[in-house]
């Protein structure tokens, strides 16, 4: 059985987990990532002072366990390369978004044509939807205004018609790749 199949099986039985089982067999990668993140945050907060580790190791352990209890690690098939690629895309998108809005705010003619659009998400609930909504709000021109079940109310600063839907589909596909979920890639833009 290859790792992809294993992940799928675990996801499908996710609803049957007992309340007490906060650590699942396939979730070690998420668990390690959280411990590394908390450890690095402590290291940064204490300016890398080795004397702080006496206090830091128990704090990191406690925070990690509390985090596992509050939100059990899932077995998403994410890979570090995809995380780096998504971070690059996100950085480029937020720089572009910042420039775009700053230009519209400063231009004497203030070229905006705001519009609300609705978008039905095909990502599963939980972390993938949350990441999608956060990144969507920082991408050029779009802002997540409300969420009604699986449907998003998106405010766009510029009415670009079908272009908005296509952009959201593309972003959703990138988020699905980040989590190792197999959403179909969007068809190329017609614009």
């Amino acid at each position: 059985m290859d790792p992809g199949d294993a992940g799928k099986t675990r996801r499908n039985t996710g609803g049957l987990q007992k309340v007490g089982s906060w650590f699942r067999a396939g979730a070690w990668k998420s668990a390690v990532a959280r411990v590394v993140f908390v450890g690095m945050a402590w290291w940064a907060l204490c300016d890398g002072d080795p004397r702080s580790f006496i206090f830091g190791v128990p704090v990191v352990a406690t925070v990690s366990v509390v985090s596992f209890l509050l939100s059990p690690p899932r077995s998403y098939g994410w890979r570090l390369t995809e995380v780096v690629r998504f971070a690059g895309y996100f950085l480029a998108g937020s720089v572009h978004g910042g420039f775009d809005v700053a230009r519209r705010a400063l231009a004497p003619s203030m070229p905006i044509s705001p519009v609300f659009v609705r978008y039905r998400m095909s990502l599963p609930g939980g972390a993938p939807q949350t990441v999608f909504r956060i990144t969507l709000s920082l991408m050029p021109g779009t802002l997540n205004a409300d969420v009604l079940g699986d449907e998003l109310v998106v405010h766009s600063l510029v009415d670009r018609g079908e272009g908005i839907q296509h952009e959201l589909k593309n972003l959703e596909w990138r988020v699905s790749r980040l989590f190792g979920l197999g959403l179909p890639p969007p068809e190329p833009a017609h614009a």
Binding site: F99, L138, D146
Partner: protein
């Protein structure tokens, strides 16, 4: 001044310029939803540039990482607050969106 100082000054001035543009956007944009665009995107980019400029000056990896963490948490909290404000404006207050169009 070393080249590093110039680079970090450029990032700091750039960040300040974007924060100013964000404020101009808040003052000029016609409704609450458009103003949120200025607050989230432009100010996040401004803060990001300031953080890079300061990290270049910090001279320590731990401090640079601390600054990056500050930016990361501000990104997340501003995305969430922006959504909460937009939802409150849509549902509770029923703030009417501005319906105009301004072509370039």
């Amino acid at each position: 001044m070393s080249p590093l100082d110039f680079l970090s000054a450029a990032f700091l001035f750039g960040g300040g310029a974007f924060c100013l543009a964000g404020t101009v956007g808040v003052l000029r944009f016609p409704d609450v939803y458009c103003r949120l665009h200025a607050l989230t995107k432009v100010d996040n980019l401004g803060l990001g540039l300031v953080v890079v400029g300061l990290a270049l000056q910090s001279g320590s990896w731990a401090t640079a990482l601390k600054l990056l963490l500050v930016w990361f948490f501000v990104l997340i909290s501003s995305a969430f607050t922006c959504q909460l404000i937009a939802r409150a404006a849509l549902r509770g207050r029923g703030a009417a969106p501005w319906g105009g169009r301004r072509e370039p």
